[in-house]
Subunit: 229 residues, 2 copies
DNA sequence: ACAAAAGTGTTTTCCATACACCCATGT
DNA sequence: ACATGGGTGTATGGAAAACACTTTTGT
């Protein structure tokens, strides 16, 4: 094949930004302002520039959409979607990314992210392009990764309690877990979490204050915390 | 952003074709016949055509490189590699795929695949482009997926023994496993393998003939077969 | 005192490991 | 007979599930 003739493609990134808020797994959606799918909900994203990698484009778009100066969460590639007719305008290949973050401030009107909104993962509208598939793949990726990585800590703020972490698992998986056993699994994994001195936080109107933790250096969970069948 | 102006990219697929042969995990390499990296070993691959998906391109290239009419193994997307300088000629985004297959016939001279060769995964030369990274990522994907999926069956022929399956695990992971316990794990997972009537095969010059199995309908392993630490 | 939530203990069940043993076959 | 490799049994240690219990706080 000649190196001087190749089919030209547009390359975009799509972002599945997920967080836990109001006891629900939520994703960030935008309302499309241009054709095609004008007015329809979709995942945020944009074109990859000629001098940046897809990962850099994803990070750039992430800052633009959230309106933040820095992104403290987790960003990983999900997969590439390339069916020839996925965009009616032209031939587009899209690299999808999953971003996990603690509860972010709501999108502010007047910024680039004004059209952005959080939407519960269990109550999503139909999305533009093949974004329904991207979301389905991404949510399954998140649910699976909680089993064998320490990724749940990216959903809570810098300081958190064991209960906060358990809530992440329960909300993402849509189940309830035994408090005592969950606690033992987390504390039994070296480097998952580390206690912050003797600091505790009140736990509502009543109840014993809870020990505060930060994330530890571990990234994988051996053995994994498996979802019930 | 205007829909009429976007940076044009070339999109390619790279193939990590893996098999188990001679008690070693091996990958298919080609020798590059054009610049850049002329004469260097590399992963097979090629441009995505304008009217096909990346997955279709990967499947097409797979048949071309192996010289087979059909591909019976497993093909899955690994990830997309898009650093701006990964190809000195132009801006190329490459979607990498992992293909798992039982022991394929050696590439035949005189075909498109004449330049292809099998190379042990533990003794690979330096590769063109960022293919070293692709191989590293792909091998780790394969090793991890043997833990919680039934993917090992794609490395053996249609009919196989439990011992054949164990050899796949041992070769891919580079360890030895207890025969009795491995057997119980496999047979204890419903749908992993199904016995073929009362058919057995001799096991060399001596020894009891072994029961023959085919792959079953299961795709996930619950609980997983974890690698030793 | 009581309610609420953190934190600990205990029992039971199950699974993984290690290793011994039996079975069927060809030389 | 015996070596070889498939197939089975079993004792033991440890983890996981279920659930009772204790501790610490605010009202």
């Amino acid at each position: 094949m000649s190196t001087n003739e190749f089919p030209p493609f547009a390359v975009t990134v799509d972002l599945l930004v997920a967080t836990v808020r109001d006891n629900a797994l939520s994703v960030l959606l935008i309302t499309r302002g241009v054709e095609p799918f004008l007015g329809a909900p979709a995942l945020p994203g944009g074109f990859v520039h000629i001098n940046e990698s897809a990962e850099q484009a994803a990070h750039r778009e992430l800052l633009e959409e959230t309106g933040l100066a820095h992104f403290a969460g987790h960003l990983e590639q999900l997969g590439t979607y390339s069916t020839p007719d996925r965009d009616p305008r032209m031939r587009v290949v899209s690299v999808a990314y999953v971003a996990l973050a603690p509860h972010l401030p709501d999108p502010q009107a007047g910024t680039d992210a004004a059209q952005a909104m959080w939407c519960r993962a269990d109550d999503l509208p139909a999305l533009a392009f093949d974004h329904d598939q991207v979301v389905a793949d991404g949510l399954e990726r998140i649910r699976a990764k909680l089993e064998y990585t320490t990724l749940a800590v990216t959903f809570v703020s810098e300081q958190f309690t064991i209960r906060d972490l358990q809530t992440v698992y329960e909300v993402v998986w849509g189940i309830t877990l035994d408090r005592a056993n969950f606690r033992r699994k987390v504390l039994g994994t070296p480097g998952f979490v580390v206690a912050v001195d003797g600091i505790t936080v009140p736990t509502g109107p009543r109840g014993k204050p809870a020990q505060v933790y930060r994330r530890g250096p571990a990234t994988v969970l051996r053995p994994p915390i498996l979802r019930p069948i």
